[in-house]
């Protein structure tokens, strides 16, 4: 007889698997002009800059900005992306024909977080009157960490800011849906705005990071301006570029 808990579930210990929610950071390849002869040479060049970072990285293909009338063989395109050791696993947006082909290739439709939210912001009821806006999101206090974030640990401030009043070690990873503050040296990886908030920022007292990223746009330590290293900086997104400035 299988033990059944009050919630009607099979007891966790007996289950042959565990089902859990998790969130992962993924890169998005925004496809603007797939027909360009320069597309794959440019992509290969990008991958060559940080081969270890890109190798077998799962990516989402963003077709949002493709023109409606585009003639586009998704399967062939995915094949060529794979040649760069990138693994397309999903797509989002795009003309209907492109979406159909993408599904046929086994790509998963990813929710278009931002756009969907904007549409939902002012729904209209059957009589054409705007319904009341949804309640303001409940305030979520920042996740405050006072101990050093050690190598090998991952910290995620879900739906809020992350404040670390110590250092983040090499090989540690800090993630937040909001801003990240490090009142110490940032030596590991810091990814802010991972659910797409491009207004998120990263602040640290000493920039020595392996990777910094805001809303999916990242920079590896090799690409950091040497004059900013070990300095107090803030990192923000502007015009689609990461800006790193002294504090």
């Amino acid at each position: 007889m299988v033990a059944v808990s009050s919630a009607g579930q099979v007891s966790e210990r007996d289950a042959p698997f565990q089902l859990r929610g998790n969130s992962f950071t993924m890169m998005v390849l925004k496809v603007l002009d797939p027909a360009s002869a320069n597309f794959f040479p440019a992509l290969a060049g990008k991958v060559r800059q940080a081969p270890n970072f890109f190798r077998h990285a799962p990516i989402v293909l963003d077709f949002d900005e493709l023109p409606d009338a585009v003639a586009f063989d998704v399967a062939a395109f995915v094949g060529r992306v794979r040649e760069q050791y990138l693994l397309p696993i999903g797509f989002h947006g795009g003309p209907a024909a492109v979406q159909e082909q993408s599904l046929a290739c086994g790509l998963v439709p990813m929710p278009t977080g931002r756009a969907a939210k904007l549409e939902l912001a002012r729904p209209v009821d059957s009589s054409g009157q705007p319904v009341a806006p949804p309640p303001e999101p409940v305030f979520r206090p920042a996740l405050v960490v006072t101990e050093p974030v050690r190598s090998g640990t991952q910290l995620y401030a879900q739906g809020t800011d992350l404040i670390v009043t110590a250092s983040v070690s090499h090989g540690a990873e800090v993630l937040a849906d909001g801003n990240i503050h490090v009142y110490g040296a940032l030596r590991g990886r810091a990814l802010a705005g991972i659910s797409g908030d491009s207004g998120a920022r990263i602040f640290c007292q000493s920039l020595e990071a392996e990777v910094v990223s805001i809303a999916g746009l990242y920079r590896v330590s090799e690409d950091l301006d040497p004059s900013l290293l070990k300095k107090a900086v803030q990192i923000r997104l502007d015009d689609g570029f990461l800006h790193i400035a002294l504090l």
């Binding site: 101990e147 050093p148 050690r150 190598s151 090998g152 640990t153 070690s169 090499h170 090989g171 540690a172």
Partner: protein
């Protein structure tokens, strides 16, 4: 009630066994009843460093498996009163360490001893986890070079997440740094990390700096804890570290290059 100390590092070859042997001996010299346990199942070394390899009959794993009594496996040191060694098995592997077995033996030892020093194997797998799980104090053994420092940082993360004190929400394991194989001359040339560099990254209190010394290898080869070589820098540094561990305020030594000053030159001339 005895206190459990784990000597750990993540990285191999940094001096965990040397430090375990020295530290346990130092505590016993101060009059505390001390036992040092080898957790490196399959790579039995502690008994060699302690010079008791020819007296090993039963080991830690035999006791865990109920094949021998604890008192049959404990080896009394011939040089220092109050000092005992619990050697490990050379023929088994780390899977022989069960959490229940280790807990039972540590509980038994805690009743009889003041300090239990656990010599952790390298890595962050079962052997290392078992050696640190029950710890009250952790001594992190680190060499002044980047890979050792990073591995130490990793093991500090493991301590604050996977130890019994962390899991049960008790007061955290105290953590102290023992910087070993420190060579001030090479530090001055920029070939090694400075004490301050290491402290900045690891951000834990400094228990001691053990200078690179030929005495360490010499002592290991004859099966004598280097702390008993009181004429060596390394031996003195371990004695200092034990004092600091016991709460004494001892100034750090051997961290700078010893320059021959005018005074010592004059002395030599007159001699």
């Amino acid at each position: 009630m005895g206190k459990i100390i784990v000597m750990t590092s993540g990285k191999g070859g940094v001096g965990k066994t040397t430090s375990s042997a020295a530290f346990a001996t130092g505590l016993a010299l101060r009059g505390f009843k001390t036992v040092v346990i080898d957790f490196d199942v399959g790579l039995r070394n502690l008994d060699l460093v302690m010079g008791c390899e020819r007296r090993v009959v039963f080991d830690f794993i035999n006791v865990i498996n109920g094949e021998a009594k604890l008192n049959q496996a404990l080896i009394k040191d011939k040089r220092v009163d109050n000092l005992y060694i619990l050697p490990t098995s050379q023929t088994r592997d780390k899977d022989a360490l069960t959490k229940e077995g280790v807990e039972r033996i540590l509980n038994e030892l805690c009743k009889e001893f003041d300090y239990i020093v656990c010599d952790s194997p390298a890595g962050i797998e079962r052997g290392a986890l078992m050696s640190l799980y029950f710890a009250d104090h952790a001594i992190i053994v680190t060499n002044p070079e980047v890979s050792s420092v990073r591995d130490s940082d990793r093991i500090l993360g493991v301590l604050s997440a996977k130890s019994r004190r962390a899991e049960q929400g008790m007061e955290p394991v105290t953590q102290q740094l023992l910087l070993t194989r420190y060579d001030p001359e090479r530090v001055e040339k920029g070939e090694m990390l400075k004490v301050d560099d290491v402290l900045e990254i690891l951000a834990i209190p400094l228990l001691g700096v053990i200078p690179e010394s030929q005495a360490v290898l010499r002592a290991s080869n004859i099966g004598m804890p280097v702390i008993l070589d009181e004429n060596s820098n390394a031996g003195q540094a371990y004695l200092d570290a034990v004092g600091r561990f016991l709460g004494e305020d001892v100034e750090h030594r051997f961290t700078t290059v010893q320059k021959k000053g005018l005074f010592s030159r004059l002395l030599r001339r007159s001699a």
